[in-house]
Homo-oligomer: 150 residues x 2
DNA sequence: TGTAATTAAATCGTGCGCGATATAATGTCT
DNA sequence: AGACATTATATCGCGCACGATTTAATTACA
């Protein structure tokens, strides 16, 4: 019982941040084999999802939706371009901005990706209602944290 | 309404995995300034928490608790060693194994770290009950995912 | 006992993810 | 118009995180 003074806070399992952190990795491992078949990494897949939802976005628009910096997105988008899934082109209206557009291959990949979400939901073992509740609780917390970070 | 056929699945905000992914980053950003003061990164902090809870662990023991591979932990632990917080020593009973022990500085850091968890809880905007429920829901999901990944 | 299988870390290459900084284009203000 | 600030990407260095492989020690077992 040398750690009596720790019991109040020093337990990894009691850290909400750790549950989120380890759940992220668990998701990653589940996605890996499914996304390997599509030739995508997990963050690349999320970028593709935002583009399937709305094509022809700027780098910063994608960054806002995904909470990522250009220092993360620029190299990632160049890899997607190298793999023939997107095109990067300076906006003629504002040459500072880069527009990201899906190629035909990028659009086509969407059909293959349709099978992914149901597989994932099944792997979580959650019913749809619980998944929705967990999702909105996490979104609320994330937004509160983001606001606290200013 | 060109995307009618997508509405069923192609919305990033509806992806539970994305909420978890973005919440991880939000936590990271909140922790950053607090951990900078301790000279730790976020994963390093989590490793220190496991060591404060139980000293003298093997690399693989830490790996099991954190769901990390030796390829991640070995360099991380070497950085902690370089910063004078832990010692790495081959186990004389089994020379394959490396035992990780806290230095005096590593033990001392625990007192400074005591202020961190309350700051984080406050930043989440959650009351303790909600935080506990969210925590156990996430743990359950993570464990189900981990089992599905075999 | 000696060979094969297993185990524990370490190493390597790739891809995030970020803060700090750089570069170039646009906007502002006088 | 000219100087200055702002904005959008890009670049760089560092630290994860992982899969695949390697090395060394231990165990199994023929």
């Amino acid at each position: 019982m040398e750690n009596t003074s720790n019991q109040d806070f020093l337990q990894l399992e009691k850290f909400l941040c750790f549950s989120v952190y380890s759940a992220t990795h668990a998701f990653n491992r589940i996605y890996k084999p499914l996304l390997d078949a599509l030739g995508l990494t997990y963050p690349q897949y999320l970028v593709m999802v935002t583009l399937w939802q709305e094509d022809d976005q700027s780098v910063s628009s994608i960054g806002e939706k995904m909470y990522l910096e250009s220092s993360t997105l620029t190299p990632l988008l160049k890899r997607l371009e190298a793999n023939g899934l997107v095109m990067r082109k300076r906006d003629p209206k504002d040459e500072r901005s880069v527009r990201i557009n899906l190629t035909d291959a990028g659009k086509a990949l969407r059909e293959k990706a349709r099978e992914v979400p149901p597989c994932i939901l099944e792997a979580t073992g959650l019913d749809i209602e619980t998944a929705k509740r967990l999702n909105s609780d996490l979104q609320a917390m994330r937004d509160t944290l983001a606001a606290a970070a200013k």
